[in-house]
Structure formats: structure tokens, C-alpha cells
């Protein structure tokens, strides 16, 4: 199959083509750029929701209920569930979709698991491009799920328009451990498993932390309660998401879109540059040479970088 044909099928919402397109993105093959270029004009219509939070907070079950609610409202939904790649073996165990399997057979739902692999610069690029595929394929709502540990949840802010952070009562230590980073990126906070004891304490804790961290003045992140198992509180959550979406549209959309585009462009330049330089260096074995020199303290990394760049620019 040719890229053009694949792109056409993606735009038609054909499931196997969407899946293959994401594989191409994941493998970051040369075709990936071409593919993105072909579908890019058709993106920008979906609302992208990021969902993160500590393990055991019930994210996946909550997502299942969110999908059901959006489906009830006639929206089509795509999900990207991100799980970590083992740094030792390069393998990954992707088990997030287990809670959404009943929806796997809905023709207007597409769920894809992605491993973080060991992308230079984190998961952001592959995930962002996978989101674009789903966007181009006509999904109204795209949900990106990440485990709330490490840097992936901060990267979610680069991709999603509305970020939801999910906690559960009794995960006090986890809330503490997550610290400020995650509090800053959240637009909506959810205390799931609200049928538990200590639910109100969790709400109060989160509100207190938000007051310390909340810099974005015009949007006050609400703290909602849900019981994902029964779906209690999910319609209210959807209302808040819609409210946030309207907020983005009415006030700051242009500014934010611009910022996002700017970040994306900057990163693309960075990555592209790196690709070009590294590939050549590795071919010639120069990368190793510099590494050795740095290790022997013959040169510092910054000077090395300057030299490399100088040489590259001159050769062009």
C-alpha cells in the first residue's frame, strides 16, 4: 500500500488503516513524516483530553465510563493508552485496555495501546502524531491516558487540551509524591472511588495543593467526585470538560493554539536536527569518538556540541 492510499483510508476512518498508520508513527519510519504531512490539513477538529494519575486511582475504569457517556451523546471516541517500556528488555506490557474491552467492538471507538519505547525526548512526539491520526480519522474526542509516574504526565500537557488528573481516597502518599508538576498541568481534578472513606479529606488536600500551585488565574480547576465502577459523577465530569472546551474557545484559544504550535515547531526542529546530525555521526563513528573524549575529560559536552554543529553547518 502506498502512503497516499493509506492516508486516504485513514481519512475515511477505516480501522485497519488507522492501526497501521499508528504503527508507522510508532516505528518512526521515514514514511511517518510523509503520512503526517498528508493528513495534517484534516486535523484540528477533535477535542483532546489527557488523563493521568497514580496507579490504583481507577483511571481506566473512569475512561471506560467517559467513553460510554460520550457515545451516548453521539460522539466518536479514540483512546491512546500509554504504558512504560522496560528499560532493561525493551519490551512492554500493555494492559490498560482490559477495562475498555466491551467498547472494542463499537465501530465508533478506537483504542490503541502504545509503549513509551525509548524515544529520545520522551513519548510526546509519537503520541502527538498518533493523536493526529485519530483526529484525521474523524474522532470527535481523543483521550490520552498515561500512568502518573515519571515525566510522561507532564508531557501529556503538551498534547492534550484538557488535562484531567485522577486520584483516589487513601492514596495520600501518592498525592504527596506527585508534587507540584502534576498539579500545574491539571485543568480538572477528580477524586475517584468516592464511595470510600476519606473522600472529603482527599478533596480538601487537593484543593489546598491547588491553591499553592494555581498560576493560571482565569480557569479555576474544579475538584470533582466520581465512582467509576457505577458511573456516578461521570456526566458532571463531561459537563466540566465541555465547559473547559468552551473556555478555551472563547478566551484564549488563539493564544494557546499558537503556543502549542510554537512548541511543536521548536521540538520538531530540535528532533529533526538531531536526527540528521546523529545519523551521520553514528555512521562515521564520530559520536563514539566524542563520547570517549568527554569521558577522558579532553573536551566538555558543550564545546563538543559547538564543534559538531560548526562542522555540520560548514559542510552544508
Amino acid at each position: 500500500m502506498k502512503i497516499e492510499e493509506l492516508a486516504k483510508n485513514v481519512l475515511a476512518g477505516e480501522k485497519r488503516s488507522i492501526a497501521k498508520a499508528i504503527t508507522i508513527i510508532e516505528n518512526n519510519s521515514r514514511e511517518a513524516r510523509k503520512l503526517i504531512a498528508a493528513i495534517y490539513p484534516h486535523t484540528g477538529k477533535a477535542h483532546i483530553i489527557g488523563i493521568t494519575g497514580p496507579g490504583g486511582s481507577g483511571k481506566s475504569t473512569l475512561i471506560e465510563k467517559i467513553i460510554r457517556e460520550y457515545r451516548r451523546r453521539g460522539k466518536t471516541v479514540g483512546v491512546i493508552a500509554v504504558d512504560p517500556t522496560s528499560p532493561f528488555t525493551g519490551g512492554a506490557f500493555l494492559g490498560d485496555r482490559i477495562r475498555m474491552q466491551e467498547l472494542a467492538v463499537d465501530k465508533d471507538v478506537f483504542i490503541r495501546s502504545m509503549a513509551t519505547r525509548n524515544y529520545l525526548g520522551g513519548i510526546a512526539r509519537a503520541t502527538r502524531d498518533a493523536v493526529k491520526i485519530l483526529d484525521a480519522a474523524g474522532k470527535d474526542i481523543i483521550i490520552v491516558e498515561t500512568v502518573g509516574a515519571g515525566q510522561s504526565e507532564v508531557e501529556i500537557a503538551k498534547i492534550a487540551q484538557t488535562v484531567i488528573v485522577v486520584f483516589a481516597p487513601g492514596l495520600g502518599d501518592e498525592i504527596q509524591a506527585i508534587k507540584a508538576g502534576i498539579m500545574e498541568i491539571g485543568h480538572i481534578f477528580v477524586v475517584n472511588k468516592a464511595d470510600r472513606e476519606n473522600v472529603n479529606k482527599a478533596v480538601i488536600d487537593i484543593k489546598a495543593m491547588l491553591q499553592l500551585n494555581n498560576k493560571e488565574k482565569s480557569w479555576k480547576p474544579p475538584v470533582l467526585k466520581t465512582i467509576a465502577l457505577t458511573g456516578d459523577g461521570v456526566p458532571q465530569l463531561i459537563e466540566k470538560i465541555e465547559e473547559h472546551k468552551r473556555y478555551l474557545k472563547s478566551r484564549e484559544e488563539r493564544k494557546r493554539m499558537r503556543e502549542k504550535a510554537e512548541k511543536e515547531l521548536l521540538e520538531a526542529i530540535k528532533e529533526k536536527t538531531l536526527d540528521i546530525i546523529l545519523e551521520e555521526m553514528k555512521e562515521k563513528g564520530e559520536f563514539e569518538e566524542y563520547l570517549e573524549k568527554i569521558l577522558k575529560r579532553e573536551i566538555d559536552p558543550m564545546t563538543a556540541a559547538e564543534k559538531i554543529l560548526e562542522k555540520k553547518l560548514r559542510s552544508n
Binding site: 497501521k20 472494542a104 467492538v105 519505547r117
Partner: protein, 138 residues
């Protein structure tokens, strides 16, 4: 960076039995062999398994069953795969499958059978050797 192609495997348990010890050990062994393993949990319908295989664009499907319903469920899965055009996916099976059932299951396209007592590295090797070279773009 140019990423490398990873073998993606769907480990699925059709049927209602809950003996997932074997499925999980295999999932772990495949992950440790550098594969990306999608695990969908217990009691998956043939439709769910095939839809998942499509959406996850897997190279391999591993089916595990101990309930005795393989003669009903496996042909249904293979038929759906064919209908959806997933003919280049390697399908293997494990669990309790009597020897005399195997020829019929091979005929419908299941390539490997791993009964109780199979060392995990044998399964890993089989997948590495038999996963079709792919494909996406010509």
C-alpha cells in the same frame, strides 16, 4: 530517531475459564524478550479479540484456553480474522487442547500449539522465527 520495529503480541483468553497463570507467564516471558504484549484479560469474545488485533495492529495472537470450548471458539476467531483480512497474523494457542483436536485447528490456520509443560523460551523462539515480516508500506 529511527525507531525499531517491535513485535506486538496480543495475549487473549477466550472462554469463561479463569486459569490465567499460563497466559501471564507467557506474557511476561515475551515482554522480557523485548516484545510489546497487549493483554486483554479474561473472558474475551471472538469479536473482541479480532477487533483488538486490528486496532493494536499486532503481529501475533496468542490464545489461551482451558475450559474445553476451543472447538467452538477458535474456528469463530479464525473465521473473523479471515473476514477482516487479517491473514498475515501469526496465531498460536496454549492451554488444554487434546492432541486429536490439533490437526483440525491447524487446518483452520493456527500455527503453533503449546500445551502444559512447554518451556517459555520455546514459545519465544517460535514467535521470533515465525512472525511474518511486515509489510505496512510497499
Amino acid at each position: 530517531m529511527i525507531g525499531e520495529r517491535k513485535i506486538r503480541v496480543l495475549i487473549a483468553k477466550p472462554g469463561l475459564d479463569s486459569h490465567d497463570r499460563g497466559a501471564k507467564i507467557v506474557a511476561r516471558a515475551l515482554r522480557d524478550a523485548g516484545m510489546e504484549v497487549i493483554y486483554t484479560g479474561l473472558r474475551q469474545t471472538p469479536e473482541q479479540i479480532v477487533e483488538t488485533a486490528i486496532q493494536e495492529d499486532v503481529d501475533v495472537i496468542g490464545l489461551s484456553i482451558l475450559s474445553g470450548a476451543h472447538n467452538t471458539l477458535f474456528p469463530r476467531i479464525m473465521e473473523l480474522l479471515k473476514q477482516k483480512g487479517l491473514t498475515d497474523v501469526l496465531v498460536v494457542a496454549g492451554g488444554i487442547i487434546p492432541d486429536e483436536d490439533i490437526p483440525k485447528l491447524k487446518e483452520i490456520g493456527i500455527k503453533g500449539f503449546f500445551g502444559p509443560g512447554t518451556p517459555t523460551d520455546k514459545i519465544v523462539r517460535f514467535i521470533l522465527e515465525n512472525t511474518p515480516k511486515r509489510r505496512e508500506i510497499s
